[in-house]
Symmetry: C2
Subunit: 327 residues, 2 copies
């Protein structure tokens, strides 16, 4: 089968491609061809055993979708997106990439016709929800985004459901929890510290904590996120029914619980590298975010995440640090 990944140069995209190549199959079907798209040329994976084509193109350019769908991939992982902060800073760019780009992809699939009906896995986000929210957020909670990014993802979910209902494609949307621990450098995202307070101490570096320890949030590891995507690609669409987007499982943890998990994995010395520096702006942004979910549908459909924040920390140590802890 032919698999297309948009946004393949992003953190999750790279890990997804590595897993697809390592397994060589999606479910029982062998992967025979990979197309990797991003706005920058995705790195062609070394030693891939199947043909890999890389395409650098702006998904907001109407010609891009036609180019991506021309070869009629069997599975499309649609990860390409402008992130939350940028979509808020640049209104037009956010709508052009996150809404028009997604719609162009769905339209190109519809117009391909001749029985073409690929599985489309759409990476949505818990940013489709905004306060006030019940805790945990139940299935069938109204989408009440408080950002343009969340609005664009919510619209993508609605389009995915309608195109699926009309029989143009077979879509599954997954609302990803905050991915933690994100590898790489610290960034300026409001959510950055959730990863930073684990990643930096494990690398022997000081981290800043801008909120109080009772702040609670909803997490899954990069490894779990890749697992969600792969599972969404192979699961039986009939079992999902008309509501095509699912809250993904995750771990609800307070910052205090994050820190205690870090202590259990790496000791007091690691925890001592966390410096408190309250930031009311970040605290206010995060107060609007969902804190926990009751993802009963996804669990019943076989989606699995970590079950404790300590598991999330250990996944990071294994996957990013080669199992080595700071000394």
């Amino acid at each position: 089968m032919h698999v297309l990944v948009t946004g393949a140069a992003g953190m999750i995209g790279v890990k997804l491609v590595a897993r697809l190549l390592a397994e060589g199959a999606l479910g029982r079907r062998a992967i025979t061809r990979l197309t990797l798209h991003d706005v920058v040329e995705p790195a062609a994976p070394a030693g891939a055993s199947v043909p890999v084509e890389t395409i650098a193109a702006d998904i907001g350019d109407p010609a891009t979708a036609a180019r991506l769908i021309a070869a009629r991939p069997d599975v499309v992982f649609h990860l390409a997106a402008i992130v939350s902060g940028e979509a808020e800073a640049d209104f037009e760019k956010g709508y052009r990439i996150n809404l028009d780009g997604t719609r162009a992809l769905l339209e190109e699939i519809r117009l391909a016709g001749e029985g073409y009906r690929p599985r489309v896995v759409f990476a949505s986000s818990v940013a489709v929800f905004g306060a006030p929210l019940p805790e945990p957020v139940p299935e069938d909670q109204a989408l009440t985004p408080l950002t343009s990014y969340g609005t664009q993802k919510a619209i993508g979910e609605l389009l995915l459901a309608d195109y699926t209902r009309r029989g143009f494609l077979d879509g599954i949307g997954i609302r990803l929890p905050t991915i933690c621990v994100r590898p790489g450098k610290p960034n300026k995202a409001a959510s950055g510290f959730f990863s930073g307070i684990i990643r930096e101490p494990l690398a022997g570096i000081e981290a800043v904590l801008p909120v109080s320890e009772d702040v609670r949030h909803w997490f899954a590891s990069p490894r779990a996120a890749v697992g969600f995507l792969v599972h969404a690609a192979v699961l039986d669409g009939e079992a999902v029914g008309p509501r095509r987007t699912l809250d993904m499982p995750g771990v609800a943890a307070t910052v205090g619980e994050q820190i205690e998990a870090l202590r259990r994995v790496a000791g007091d010395a690691a925890v001592a590298r966390i410096r408190r520096e309250p930031d009311p702006t970040i605290a206010r942004i995060i107060a609007g975010w969902p804190r926990a979910f009751a993802p009963e549908r996804a669990l019943a459909l076989g989606f699995r995440a970590e079950t404790s924040f300590e598991e999330i920390v250990r996944a990071h140590v294994e996957d990013e640090l080669g199992g080595r802890l700071p000394t």
Copy 2:
């Protein structure tokens, strides 16, 4: 103030314009100018005391929004839409009018700039909800449309909220119940019989009832719908908060209750004009629709509908039949 009505030639549009001209004001502000848009030339109301411009243009044509917004109307009633059945039959036309047309209007307002921030009243629909649904449907129920029309209205709601949050306009969406009794000829809409079984007997004509008497649905009169629109134009946006679209109040009534209301207003002879002719297709479509709401927010904000189906029948007799009952 300058008021723009899109879809002004439609049943609700005509009644809204008549009320605006009769009252001469929206809240405390005098109406000094009216612009009436539709895809066919709206009839210019006779004897209007303020300048009335009529514009016949396709709202799906990108040039139309620019033409409508150029004069910077203070209030925009956005009623123009392809109806449910047509949006389902013609996928591209539905998206072009109901999604692209709405977005073009919002974009034109955003791009006008220079502090322009009109009140935009968006006519949404209970079609944004699809079964299975709790009864009554609570506030904050997830939008789960089962038609392309419902999907397009749900997307319009999301855009309205984001454009409002960003300060580009001041939007209020209202989810209209099924409007009953619709005046005019019988039509082929699946919901047509809800009006037909009242309207036809009151006109001395036979009506067909395709479903059983225990079917329950959510209604408001055309008069109430116009009242919702006017109230949405004048209410305090701050009081609405970030969730800009509201379930409108209405009357939950079974078909049996409709018929009993008809009997109380017009007697057994009218009821005898209803002929039962079960139609499983219509029954199946209607089974997916919401049956009752708990519109607490709208009621708290001062929206008012009829409180019994008998009131709805009497509104029809007063507004459409000059108070005359069949003899």
